[in-house]
């Protein structure tokens, strides 16, 4: 393996009792794209944070370009030519692009000259890598794809020869992700070394030269990407065989349960987010709503579930209209058999400082089995939570643990268990597997299919096209607030992609 840009020898790291990295040794050849794949909590991010000096290893050595390196702080790493694009961007929201880029690398104490210098350097980088971004734009006004570009520019501005990207595509649309991969390939051609951390197998296959698999803190395999398969990697990650595509029988749609007619919704600024949307949802089917994030899917979900007001249109549940003027409160809808798994579990689905058991009944806490009048029946709640934990394999199986201490996948299972176990007639699910690892995705998908087979109606919103395609019986594509097309569940990625990009139905037909 040529000369190594990075060599890790026996890296070991524990957080309290959790051993996040176990004796990891790894060589990453210079001028390659190296993927590190593993489930959430497998220790990928910890390992890279050690390389970036954010954490200190308990044991082990790091060699950069064959030279032993003592990396104790991020500035040591930066000095060694290591740059990192974090999963949650490390940007100052109200600074300009330029200010964010020079932060920490200003050079001299006065900004005038350093800003001018940075501007020129930025133009050079933009030309060289095609990373265009307005240097004077305020970062929070930029779409996430561009914010990520700023992060990459930040690293390049500091002269990074080694670029680490932690789950970079989590927030990107398929097109943006493709663009990112083009940039990464170009960086490789320039002789830079790229380390890509992800839990998405497709990305590994698409862009990496070599891949290492991590499981439970240990490095379980490293191989050439061309010599491995998706199935093999998935098995290595999870430690058992995984079904990447859910098996499901044909749908048996029955009566219309949820009917949306001419629904129009505006946001707080008065911009039309949902524009004259109509569709029906029947028992025994999963209808998927595909679309690039921000095309009105979130607003549609929120309106149907009673969180947001509509401007016009009707929504009927089981033949009875839902009050769309804001009077329909979510608890009433829940009582009528409409359950909601919100898109953002942290923001809307869970109260993170609460115990797991408290979150597992939130919203249903007034039910008689959980409360006698105003007093909660703590024992009943705990027994109920323990049952859900068993049924949904939530780990660690401790109903008294703070919800914030569960991994993302397990948090998602807590929400799903809460909503599904109420046995609703209609289940509205937003991004059911966002930030969930392969094993968890398989589990959640199976559960959703089960719901359908029991004659429930499921409305699924997801930005993961794979997920939409593997679960849905019918697919609606949203673009700019409108439903621009309907396809069967077996539609190809290509035709859905066109619709998602806003290419009009009639144009494609012509």
């Amino acid at each position: 393996m040529g000369n190594a840009a990075i060599e890790l020898i026996g890296i070991d790291k524990s957080f309290g009792l959790v051993r996040a990295n176990r004796d990891i040794s790894l060589k990453i050849p210079a001028g390659t794209i190296h993927g590190i794949i593993g489930e959430n909590g497998a220790g990928k991010s910890t390992l890279m944070s050690i390389l970036y000096g954010f954490y200190q290893a308990d044991r082990g050595e790091i060699l950069i370009h064959g030279e032993k390196a003592k990396i104790e702080t991020p500035s040591d790493a930066i000095a060694r030519g290591i740059g990192m694009v974090h999963q949650h961007f490390m940007l100052v929201h109200n600074f300009t692009v330029l200010e964010n880029i020079i932060l920490g690398a200003e050079g001299e104490p006065l900004l005038n000259t350093s800003i001018a210098k940075a501007r020129a350097e930025l133009q050079r980088l933009e030309r060289e890598y095609g990373l265009e971004v307005d240097p004077d734009a305020i970062v929070e006004d930029l779409p996430v794809g561009l914010q990520q570009r700023v992060e990459i520019l930040k690293a390049l501005y500091r002269g990074a020869e080694i670029l680490i990207l932690d789950e970079p595509t989590g927030v990107l649309t398929p097109a943006e992700a493709d663009h990112l991969f083009r940039i990464l390939r170009q960086l490789k051609e320039e002789g830079k070394t790229v380390v890509l951390i992800t839990h998405k197998l497709r990305e590994i296959m698409a862009v990496t030269d070599n891949v290492s698999v991590m499981r439970q803190g240990a490095l379980v395999a490293t191989s050439k990407t061309s010599e491995t398969t998706v199935e093999e990697l998935a098995e290595l990650m999870v430690g058992r065989r995984v079904l990447l595509r859910v098996e499901k029988g044909p749908a048996a749609p029955g009566d219309v349960l949820l009917s949306v007619k001419n629904l129009t919704v505006k946001d707080s600024r008065g911009v039309t987010m949902v524009d004259d949307v109509s569709f029906d949802l029947r028992t025994g089917e999963i209808v998927g709503i595909a679309g690039v994030a921000g095309n009105g899917q979130s607003e549609l979900l929120e309106t149907i579930t009673g969180i947001r007001k509509a401007v016009s249109g009707t929504v009927t549940l089981d033949g009875i209209p839902i009050d769309l003027t804001g009077a329909a409160d979510p608890s009433e809808l829940r009582a009528r058999g409409l359950a909601h798994v919100p898109e953002d579990r942290h923001h809307m689905g869970l109260v993170l400082p609460f115990d797991e058991s408290e979150n597992s009944i939130l919203g249903y806490h007034r039910q008689e089995k959980y409360a006698k009048g105003p007093i909660l029946d703590v024992d009943a709640i705990r027994n109920d939570a323990e049952e859900k934990i068993r049924k949904y394999d939530i780990r660690p199986p401790n109903p008294q643990l703070k919800t914030a201490n569960f991994s993302g996948g397990n948090q998602q299972k807590i929400v799903l268990a809460r909503e599904m176990e109420q046995d609703p007639k209609v289940l509205i699910v937003g991004q059911p597997t966002r930030g969930v690892d392969v094993g968890g995705i398989e589990f959640i998908h199976k559960r959703l299919i089960e719901m359908r087979d029991r004659g429930k109606a499921v409305l699924l919103v997801s930005v993961e096209l794979d997920e939409i395609r593997s679960l849905s019986d019918r697919i609606l594509v949203m673009f700019a607030g409108r439903i621009v097309g309907e396809r069967a569940g077996d539609a190809t990625e290509g035709e859905l992609g066109l619709l998602m990009a806003g290419v009009d139905e009639r144009e494609t037909a012509a």
Partner: protein, 323 residues
């Protein structure tokens, strides 16, 4: 002409009462922009005033008073920093504690050292920062209007007052034109961004609270050695809190901070001026109403007129690396 003279007099006292507010508000600006909330401005100012009064009384030098004030205020800032930066304690609790310590210990020490009921001895001459006559103030004083404005309004303040107003553009410059300022603003919004850029979050915040200490020390010195001739117990009388209100009112920006302090100072000067004088239409206003006015104004203006004052995003939250 009588009206004009009254106005000049009113504006002159506005400047005088605004100075400690301005210094304290700018002090708070450094700390809060770095993400460390500081409700202890009041206590630091009070301790500074006491130290200034005591040291000036003992040494007979105003400069020694100033040095003592800055020293003790910086020390208290570091205590606040130690609690809230190093030990990630609650910033409000730590700030309130400092206020209590200052309120209690200044009286006890004052009584123990000087036995004048918690006051420090009356000062005069070199032990105070007296009025400075600007050049030509004497000769211009007879020129109508310009003379009044220059000689009565602009001239004749203490050195610290001039420094306070010069600190406004200086603070703006530091904040927006220097590396330190860029980092200071960044650490108050997103400390993780600063940390991953290879800069120490703790050291940066410590430097910010030291700035706060120096400025509160100056504010205290002004109260004890310029506005008054010595320390009197509880002489800050809530100015630290009004300064905080001004800071929020001005959305943590230096130039608006100055105008907010001048506005609050004007209300204060006005309330003193009209005490006992009935106003047309409304009659005599209770003093308490005028004293409450800065707070009422802050609430009303923040609620409706100037929009939401968005504090630095990381304000009040101790920085902990993830996990």
């Amino acid at each position: 002409m009588d009206f004009f003279n009254t106005l000049v007099f009113l504006l002159d006292s506005t400047i005088r009462v605004s100075v400690p507010l301005l210094l304290a508000a700018l002090a708070g600006l450094y700390s809060e922009r770095s993400g460390v909330f500081d409700i202890g401005l009041e206590g630091k100012m009070l301790a500074g005033a006491f130290a200034a009064g005591a040291a000036a009384a003992v040494s007979g030098s105003a400069w020694a008073g100033l040095a003592a004030a800055v020293l003790i205020a910086v020390f208290l800032s570091l205590v606040h920093g130690f609690a809230s930066i190093t030990h990630r304690g609650n910033q409000i609790v730590s700030g309130v504690a400092i206020n209590f310590i200052a309120a209690g210990s200044t009286i006890i020490l004052g009584q123990a050292w000087f036995s004048q009921g918690g006051r420090t001895p009356l000062l005069g001459g070199d032990a105070r920062f007296g009025a400075i006559q600007l050049p030509f103030a004497e000769t211009l004083s007879d020129v109508p209007i310009i003379g009044d404005l220059y000689s009565d309004l602009l001239s004749g303040h203490s050195l610290i007052a001039y420094v306070a107003f010069l600190l406004v553009p200086f603070t703006w410059w530091v904040l927006f034109r220097t590396r330190f300022g860029l980092r200071l603003r960044a650490v108050g919004e997103n400390p993780a961004a600063v940390d991953t850029a290879g800069i120490s979050v703790a050291w940066l915040r410590y430097r910010a609270v030291i700035c706060t200490g120096i400025l509160t020390g100056l504010a205290g010195t002004y109260l004890a050695l310029s506005q008054n001739a010595g320390f009197v117990k509880d002489m800050t009388a809530g100015r630290g809190y009004i300064a905080l209100a001004a800071l929020i009112f001005a959305k943590w920006r230096p130039v608006p901070v100055m105008f907010a302090c001048l506005l609050f100072g004007f209300l204060d000067a006005f309330s003193i001026r009209i005490q006992g004088t009935p106003l047309p239409l409304v009659g005599q206003l209770p003093v308490q109403f005028m004293q409450a006015l800065p707070y009422i104004l802050t609430v009303i203006l923040l609620a409706g007129f100037i929009g939401r004052a968005e504090p630095p995003r990381a304000g009040g939250i101790p920085y902990v690396k993830e996990r």
